[in-house]
Symmetry: C2
Subunit: 314 residues, 2 copies
């Protein structure tokens, strides 16, 4: 339909992060061939960007040991933007060597979380980001910074919005070409999303804060996505089947479900370039490769509305 | 906090519909004493309004056979607004006799659905609504009309927005003192919610369309609620534990989950008068009375954020 929300934007980029955020959250290792089949099938369903893995030491995350091979494979898929997560400059060098289009480094807004997670203060992380940006730039690779725990931290509690704004500006000064706000802990709500997107955008200028990385921890994922869309967010991370989250365990923290997100966007008249029937069929690949692993999402079970084709599909 | 969305409204009324919409969607009959315990516990948690049942023939819905006794019991609970659903003027007379504060009659925007469900055309329904409104007025009872299948119908597909607007005006002319839009089929999306709330409000005047009755069929329930709040909706129906819906069955159509909705509203700074810890404890009553019945909701499993008390609770 080409209609959209309040911002005039009609195309929203879905960035599939299941092969990275979903798989790193479960204990089992998905075989390389299954990962390739998953990535290929999503690309063929029209997903424009996939975070295929992270360049962390395999001793820490054996699930991500084959990321370089996945990058090489994903680069053969026409039109796909291939991105990976890196924790530091060493990882960035590996990502550039593997051939990513873009890389992303997480920068925790909670200093407690940052020290516990990567043993770096905020000042040390800004030095690291500058090095990552230098490595990326030298390799002709896009450098994004993910502002994690931006909406709150399970260790520190509230994260002050002024601090997020200040660190967002510092990340851009350190070389970030793009920013995302990550609700790592599921503490976001639509009002907070609106305030923080507005405040960060006002501070760093237009076009830099493009992305929200949302979890559905307390069921607010799509409401938070809607709030972001209203404020001009143009990229949304999501995970097929909400892989890696478990609503039946305390602290459940799965990503928002790609299928439900695509349904919402299509129903609202946004374009994503994604064929939802083909996207939903990709669930079978995960179910076969990881039998018994819970897959979430309401749209696959409910099916599409009778008027979906005529009204909203691309 | 007293902050809110864009509309300046700070108090949102939660209307618990689980004892009616939840219980009528499952096969088992909840014992009267368990229903009473549930209603009492929710009222004590601060829920201001409960739809305790419907006045339909017990041969059709044995789950609702004890609605008159529930109304009498609920009327003893201080401060609680006691409402019931009625299909026709006969049901309205029973509701008034039982002592409800308010009644609601569903009016299906899909004529196919109306004929199939209550064997009445739109014209015949408008006559029925006028009779219901007369009975209600004579009894000093508030009369609401729920515009069901307002966002689409599983039999007809799309329901044109012009038709909903026209029938909303006709319902008010027939005597409706309040309107709600019901997403009976889970076809709503935030853009459609915004358009339809605006269009109906513009046609019937302010203060009449107060309520959204949303299902979480395709996972968009809270996003749709947010869209309604932005357009001035002040009452939201919800069901504790999403009772009656089943995301693992085709056509799943549970109401939005009261617990997640209350969390979202509190986090955003809206007031609901509800203590969320006490509300979540009510799940135990349903679990005991209906063992094995799935209860949904993410917040009860994830728990409340560290900063919830200080930031948002009442």
């Amino acid at each position: 339909m080409g209609l959209s929300g309040e911002t005039g934007v009609t195309f929203i980029t879905i960035s599939e992060v299941g092969p990275r955020d979903g798989l790193q959250s479960i204990d089992r290792v998905m075989p390389l061939e299954a990962k390739k089949a998953w990535i290929k099938a999503e690309a063929e369903a029209g997903v424009p960007e996939i975070e295929v893995g992270s360049f962390v030491p395999p001793s820490l995350l054996p699930q991500m040991a084959d990321t370089a091979e996945l990058v090489a494979f994903a680069r053969t898929l026409p039109g796909l933007n291939v991105v990976a997560l890196v924790p530091n400059a060493k990882g960035a060098a590996r990502a550039v060597e593997a051939g990513v289009h873009g890389l992303s480094i997480p920068f925790s807004m909670s200093e407690t979380h940052s020290i516990k997670n990567v043993r770096k203060t905020h000042a040390e992380m800004l030095v690291e980001i500058a090095e990552v940006a230098t490595v990326a730039k030298a390799g002709g690779v896009h450098c994004a910074v993910g502002l994690s725990t931006a909406f709150g931290c399970t260790m520190e509690g509230a994260v002050h919005e002024d601090r997020v704004v200040r660190l967002a500006v510092a990340a851009v000064e350190a070389g970030a070409e793009e920013l995302s706000l990550s609700d790592t802990t599921g503490y976001a709500d639509p009002a907070k999303v609106r305030r923080l997107v507005r405040a960060v955008t006002a501070a760093v200028g237009p076009g830099l804060l493009t992305t929200l990385h949302l979890h559905n921890t307390r069921g607010l994922g799509l409401a938070n996505a809607l709030a972001g869309l209203d404020e001009g967010i143009t990229t949304l991370d999501a995970s097929l089947g909400g892989l890696g989250g478990c609503p039946f365990a305390p602290g459940a923290s799965g990503n928002i479900v790609t299928e439900d997100l695509v349904f919402m966007l299509a129903a609202m008249g946004y374009e994503t370039g994604i064929n939802l029937d083909r996207l939903m069929a990709v669930r079978g690949i995960i179910a076969n490769a990881l039998p018994g692993e819970p897959l979430y999402g309401f749209t696959p079970d409910a099916g599409l509305p009778l008027d979906y084709r005529s009204g909203s599909d691309t």
